[in-house]
Amino acid sequence: MTPRLLLSSVGIAATCAALASTAGAQVLAGDPMLDRSRRPSVPPLAPYKFPKVESKTLTNGINVSVVENHDMPIVAVRVVIDGGNRLDPVGKEGLSDLVMSMLREGTATMTADQLAEAFADLGNSVTPTSFTTIVRNVDRSLELMAGMLMHPAYPQAALDRQRATLVANITRAKDQPASVANRIMSKVLYGSGHQYERTATEASLAGITRDDVSAFHSKYIRPENIRVIVVGDVTPASAVAKLEKSFGKWEKGGSKAPSGTAAAAGVAATTIYLYDRPGSTQSSVVMAQLGPSRSSPDFWALETLNTVYGELSASRLFQSMRETHAYTYGVRTFITWRRAPEASTFVGTSEIASAKTDSALTLWLREMRDIRGPRPPSDSEMVFARTNRVAGLPMRLESVDGVAARVAAMAQDNLSFDFYEQYIARISRLGAGEVAAAAKKYLDPEHLAIVIVGDRKAIEPSLKAANIAPIVVVDENGKAIP
């Protein structure tokens, strides 16, 4: 545990400087005959264990998870509200986002400006779902957070302003090619009417009333549907006591958010959806397909496959598309897992120099076909991927914020807190055969949606000539333009 100082407002610099020691007097010689060709042999490292997560329940039923970490006088609090955009009623897309922003617009006892002043007095902002602060500020931060979650006021003027801001953000997102590509992907991949196909529009936002916001809140932002995560310089007992004080009066109830639907359409056959952005110097490419649900036994193999294939700069795609061919500054793939039974999405993104769009896509698809058969993951690639995932855990959990994010993600996906023990065990014993099988089963070059936002005039002729897949020119909603 790092020692702390309680400092007064004067003399801080002197105090800190006094803690520094110098060791310049000791002279150790560098050996000019040093043999640099030998990589140092390093001692083994003790096996890593994910920090212990203590589960507690408040008297009103709120589920609480606490991780102690006394290294620094810091506490991170996260609130997980299950649901999100998938709870938006048809025709009122954007409702959940609007509710979340309205929680900051004042409470029964404080205006939004008074809230802002309270945050400023603390020195840390508090959102309805998150803050990280020094120990001294925790109680007051929780009190403010609870006020926003429990007693939002929804002033009509603020609702109108927030609505206008969301509309402006939708319009402005159309100025950035990656945002356009992602929006089109959501339109073409999931099928009409799917929860992820429906996105907020000016019209859907215009139809949302204060009553809609209030109804959503009293149904889903309630003890039944939320979980609280506390990480840092607290004990489980004191965390629960603090939460009872701030959240204890919150009346039991509300509804658990319904699960998302398993069904999603995907694309019938690999298709290039081309959105014309004259003047683009690069093609912004998103390539995606549907994958299995979070509860699939192939989860571990698919995650590890992704590390071999496209997750990192030492993965195949980056090596090939950037280092060997310099078509791009970067390419990466990732899997968006959602709570079961929803399908996952296997996604790849890259910004490709316009003149290389056809060559890069051809190469990308060749890499995909190769890993499914002719060139399956090798033993050395498996060692690389397994070690990266397992040995890398402590580096992703170095900060209180990092631990809080991981615990929140487990809560969000409804996983048990021994997930990382399973993770280490399952990935450590994965063989190349299992990962090769996952590649064959899930990487499907015949059912890809490929969205390209780029300069049509510059890239379409060579894309056609390369004969990669049928090309459909689309608008910003993924609709074919005749």
């Binding site: 407002s9 800190c16 400023a120 020195g123 840390n124 110097t281």
Partner: protein, 483 residues
């Protein structure tokens, strides 16, 4: 790899909040005495070849961060060779005598670690975050490229990285709607030949022209032990780490002394009204910028406080008026971006207007707020808020080894004092409303840039279209406009 932030300054805008300890809050807010400040203990030593090493022991996680600071950046380039520092950074990952091309990333990632290189205007930093048992491997790799990089550098590797760096410039500048704004800002505030006149990505033409000799001479001049600082933070035994630093870096020969000069302070004699058009844009943006001051200048802290005070939250003056009361914008941000040179920085106000809002009206509101901070001091409460926010940010911003190496490395590289940021904290606490009022008057003068960014052809949307302006749209013959 080699992901570089848009500029060093943008990072500093968030991370360089400097204060820590606070006097009791006035005006009956929460009674506050002081803040728990985690100590940053370190050892510093210097090798005979001039390399500085800083060790910060912390056993909270079985992780160690190694970061190597080379005191060189785009500022050390010359016109005609812009972008060289960043291009060179890429060459550092192309292998050295005992580390094959690509092996750095494979080795670090096979440990589960993270690495990168970051080029800024005034420094270039390489870091490796690895499991603590791999500290020696990280030092071996970093020292190998400092000692032997040129044994691998060749034309083919340079040409490949040149294309990748051009792609990076496209991602971050050319393909971004209004992506030219940063390049224009530097070029308009700092005169040709001034070391902060160009962006660190350089120009495409200069990147095309960079030669193998340029790269080699850059390495021999700047990538020397006497121009480097090694910072190690995390789970290690200091005695062992000290020996490793000596073993791997000690044999590297000292390089030439580097002459450093302090660039002159710049003021603009009159307002520059500029227009940037972009055919890919649907909505306009508006930016104001002044040439100001940088690291170590006596007025810097007050100027930083001013920037934060204007847009810290919804009650801050500029945000309140533009976003809430008048609802002309969806967001606004004000900050002073400081360069290493005490004479140079940029105070910038960036406004994201609402659709259909008048840029002229926004400019009037911004000017009214600037006039108000010049005319009378901030309230004690406004000032106190900035100090509180900075204090908490500083403490919560030291959670990881990487964050600690950034703090210690920058202090050593720029100020010869690893904890210089903590020294600045004392100044921060002393700043008064009158100080802030004074720097507002001194730096937010008429000698500024006002950049209207509009969809191509929508010149009626620019701010104050009746006034003369210069159209600085790239690829367009520079033209004057206005009636």
């Amino acid at each position: 790899m080699v992901r570089i932030p848009v500029s060093r300054s943008l990072r500093r805008a968030t991370a360089a909040a400097l204060a820590i300890a606070l006097p009791a809050l006035p005006l009956g807010a929460q009674a506050a005495s002081a803040i728990d400040v985690p100590t940053i203990k370190y050892e510093r030593f210097v090798l005979p070849n001039g390399l500085v090493a800083i060790l910060n022991e912390n056993h909270a996680s079985p992780v160690v961060t190694v970061s190597i600071w080379y005191h060189v950046g785009s500022r050390n380039e010359v016109p005609g060779k812009t972008g060289l520092a960043h291009l060179f950074e890429h060459m550092m990952f192309e292998g050295s005598q005992n580390v094959a091309p690509g092996q750095h990333r494979t080795m670090i990632q096979s440990m589960g670690g993270a690495f990168n290189g970051n080029t800024y205007e005034d420094r270039t930093t390489y870091y490796d975050v690895v499991p603590s048992n791999e500290l020696e491997t990280a030092l071996w790799m970093e020292s190998d490229r400092m000692a032997t990089l040129l044994t691998r550098v060749d034309q083919a590797r340079l040409d490949a990285q040149r294309e990748i760096v051009k792609n990076e410039r496209r991602v971050r500048v050319d393909n971004v709607t209004f992506g030219a704004a940063n390049e224009i800002t530097l070029a308009q505030l700092y005169p040709p030949g001034h070391p902060y006149n160009w962006i660190l990505f350089g120009s495409m033409a200069d990147l095309s022209a960079a030669s193998l000799d340029d790269v080699k001479s850059f390495f021999r001049t700047y990538y020397t032990p006497n121009n480097a600082t090694v910072v190690i933070s995390g789970d290690f035994k200091p005695a062992e780490a000290r020996q490793m630093v000596h073993r791997y870096f000690g044999p590297i020969a000292r390089g030439p002394a580097i002459a450093r000069s302090t660039p002159p302070q710049i003021t603009l004699s009159a307002e520059k009204r500029l227009v940037l058009e972009d055919a890919r844009a649907r909505l306009p943006q508006l930016r104001f910028a002044w040439p100001t001051i940088g690291n170590g200048h006596a007025d810097l802290v007050a100027l930083q406080i001013l920037g934060t005070a204007l847009t810290l939250d919804r009650t801050a003056r500029l945000t309140k008026l533009l976003v809430y009361d008048r609802q002309l914008a969806t967001s606004v941000n004000a900050a002073n971006f400081d360069f290493e040179s005490p004479n140079n920085g940029i105070f910038q106000i960036a406004v994201t207007p609402r659709p259909n809002a008048s840029l002229t009206e926004i400019e009037r509101v911004v000017d009214s707020v600037i006039a108000s901070v010049k005319a009378s001091p901030l309230s004690v409460k406004e000032l106190q808020r900035v100090k509180s926010a900075d204090a908490v940010t500083t403490v919560t911003g030291l959670q990881t080894g990487f964050q600690r190496t950034e703090l210690l490395g920058q202090g050593e590289a720029f100020d010869k004092n690893p904890l210089s940021r903590f020294a600045v904290m004392t100044e921060f606490v002393k700043v008064t409303p009158a100080d802030v009022q004074r720097v507002a008057g001194r730096y937010l003068t008429e000698g500024r840039m006002v950049l209207s960014m509009v969809p191509a052809g929508k010149l009626d949307q620019i701010s104050k279209p009746d006034q003369p302006y210069t159209n600085v749209t790239p690829g367009r013959s520079t033209g004057a406009g206005g009636r």
